[in-house]
């Protein structure tokens, strides 16, 4: 039975898993019986997805029959990842539509925003039933790890590693793929339990504390309150949130170092150092700018600046206030933070800290090379959580290539947004950075009143950002290639 399970097609397993995720919110019913009328809206899409998955498992192509040459495997894994995310979005959308909560495009937007851990919302939170709030938070919690990771935790087979790297998880922390996934899952859940208890002690209700904790760990940022974390206006809740966001944005391998008590090697990791340096450089000037521009005290400025900087850099997107009156300098720094994003191999989005760090290092190396005599030999390296890694040509090419593509997508998206949303360039840049880096802060143009075109642009941004662009390109190229092959064969026969 077990062997049969692990051999059946990944698509089927993913579909069953997604179905289970969508049914999961029903567990809040005992506490909120008044939401029982929405049971069917969750049960129908979940059951359909599970049934579809079982059928795929029974009649679909087995994983072990898949050809094993390198090129087609890469394409196939990318396509599987794309399918998982596409199907997840579709199934996650249905409950909103069946329950009569949102229009179709808005519901799609909400589901994309949930699974990609963005946190932009087209819902009016004040009137939403509890079960939907939980659905949104739970989507982010699962999306934080990714569907493939979730699947590997339960069942792994020969294809697992291909899929795992295709979904953009760079780290192996255990000598076995299944155990790597399980270790990450354990860290993640332990943090959830501890975080929820901390929130509860700080004064939230259990429901709010679990929802908020799920969303800050996954660097998602959906809140159950209209004003987000700002609603509580409590310093202790803000501090807990900052800590959870920092945990969420740190790469899992580094977290494992910390969990094992290797604190010194944790702080030696380049990415972690870079994150703290960035925060140390940008929080004080922003605090001064806020204190000056909003006419609040310096201490208050520091509190706001620290919270929002961490929220943007970790790509979480919790806020304590509206950004409409913020000075331009502070807005600019926030955009910069959002684009830089969180750690590689964490739940965060953005260009990723280590890529930005590497790009800066590569620039520095270039300049040094120009200044020093031609015969100088250098062997630069940086520290990953697994140990020292040399910065070689391949890594440099890969990094700069990704950064460039990311920025190109960002510029195009921002320009399109200025047309669709009819807003200023700053507003468009802010909200598109927020979507592309899966942050979820909004300067005010994304909300229940936003038009469909803008929502679609942001949806594309979120998906590209979460799946790291290249996978989408590879998957589509492979998919079109297969389609062309099929059409040609039909013509001939």
């Amino acid at each position: 039975m077990k062997k049969y399970l692990s051999d059946s097609s990944s698509l089927g397993k993913l579909s069953v898993l997604i179905g289970l995720f969508v049914i999961a919110p029903l567990i809040v019913l005992p506490w909120y019986p008044e939401d029982a009328k929405y049971t069917l809206s969750f049960l129908i899409p979940g059951a359909v997805s599970i049934l579809f998955g079982i059928l795929m498992g029974l009649f679909g192509k087995k994983d072990s029959e898949v050809p094993t040459d390198w090129r087609s495997q890469m394409g196939r894994s990318s396509l599987t990842v794309l399918f998982a995310w596409g199907w997840g979005v579709l199934v996650g959308t249905v409950p909103f539509v069946l329950g009569g909560q949102l229009r179709i495009v808005q519901a799609l937007f909400e589901a994309v925003s949930g699974w990609t851990t963005t946190g932009l919302s087209a819902m009016d939170i004040t009137t939403v039933p509890m079960i939907y709030l939980f659905h949104r938070s739970f989507m982010q919690y699962c999306g934080g790890l990714g569907f493939i990771m979730m699947m590997i935790i339960f069942i792994s087979n020969k294809q697992s590693m291909n899929l795992y790297s295709a979904e953009g998880h760079p780290d192996k922390i255990m000598p076995n793929i299944k155990r790597t996934a399980q270790a990450i899952f354990l860290i993640y859940n332990t943090c959830l339990v501890l975080g929820s208890i901390a929130y509860r002690i700080a004064g939230m209700t259990w429901f709010d504390s679990i929802c908020h904790c799920m969303c800050s760990l996954s660097t998602g940022g959906f809140s159950t309150k209209l004003m987000s974390i700002g609603e509580y206006n409590s310093l202790s809740i803000e501090i807990i949130t900052i800590v959870l966001m920092l945990i969420g944005t740190t790469n899992f391998a580094a977290l494992l170092l910390l969990a094992r008590g290797k604190i010194r090697s944790f702080f030696r990791v380049s990415e972690v150092k870079f994150m703290f340096i960035l925060l140390a450089i940008f929080i004080p000037p922003t605090a001064v700018s806020l204190a000056h521009g909003l006419d609040i005290g310096l201490a208050e400025g520091f509190r706001k600046s620290a919270f929002d900087m961490v929220s943007a850099l970790s790509t979480t997107g919790y806020s304590t206030m509206s950004y409409a009156e913020w000075p331009h300098f502070a807005i600019g720094v926030l955009i910069l933070m959002m684009i830089i994003g969180g750690g590689m191999g964490s739940t965060a989005g953005g260009i990723k800290l280590s890529r930005v760090y590497l790009t800066l290092r590569i620039c520095a190396i270039q300049i040094k090379k120009k200044l020093s005599p031609g015969s100088t030999v250098k062997a630069p390296h940086y520290v990953k959580s697994t140990g020292k890694t040399p910065i070689d040509q391949e890594l440099a090419d890969e990094t700069t290539g990704f950064v460039l593509v990311y920025l190109v997508v960002y510029v195009i998206g921002s320009l399109v947004m200025t047309v669709t949303a009819d807003c200023t360039l700053t507003e468009a840049m802010f909200d598109f950075a927020s979507a592309l880096s899966t942050v979820g802060l909004s300067i005010g143009i994304t909300g229940p009143m936003t038009n469909d075109a803008t929502l679609i642009v942001e949806m594309i941004g979120m998906l590209l950002g979460r799946l790291e662009i290249f996978i989408v390109v590879i998957g589509f190229t492979f998919g079109f290639g297969r389609l062309k092959d099929m059409l040609c064969r039909k013509k001939r026969s």
Binding site: T68, Y164, N176
Partner: protein
């Protein structure tokens, strides 16, 4: 059975054709594998679905071995392209880290007897091939004799 599988942890030193092949097979079976090689380029021999760890490092360096948690390993396989290195790694694994099962590959069959005294299992491709070829020859001769 399942618990036992979780506990095995194989460290392979040397990512040549043999090492990579072995690592792929073990990883496919869902075992814990770590493979170490001095040269990063060698890891391209691993299949894309290799799920274990790959570490760049010298297999005779105690610090590198410690980083690979060799003391937790249930088996160490030394398959670099040099007999002396293999023997040295095998001895380190056995005496310094007291690993239970140590296997080394030897190109030169003459060394074999010496190292069996150390309690190191050795695999000698040339001796194995000689045996197999001998068997084939024998079967041919018996057929002709009939």
């Amino acid at each position: 059975m399942k618990i036992k599988k979780q506990d095995t942890y194989t460290v392979i030193i040397g990512c040549g054709r043999l090492g990579a092949n072995l690592a792929n097979t073990l990883s496919d079976e869902g075992e814990n594998v770590l493979i170490m090689d001095e040269n990063k380029e060698s890891f391209r021999r691993l299949a894309s679905n290799f799920g274990g760890l790959s570490v760049v490092g010298n297999g005779t360096d105690l610090d590198e071995l410690r980083r690979a948690e060799i003391n937790r390993a249930t088996a160490v396989v030394a398959v670099t392209n040099d007999d002396n290195t293999n023997i040295m790694i095998a001895q380190i694994a056995r005496d310094v880290f007291s690993v239970e099962h140590v296997i080394a590959r030897l190109y030169d069959p003459e060394c074999e007897t010496v190292y069996q005294k150390f309690g190191i299992d050795t695999i000698c491709p040339s001796a194995l091939s000689a045996k197999e070829i001998d068997k084939l020859l024998c079967s041919i001769q018996t057929k002709e004799g009939e």
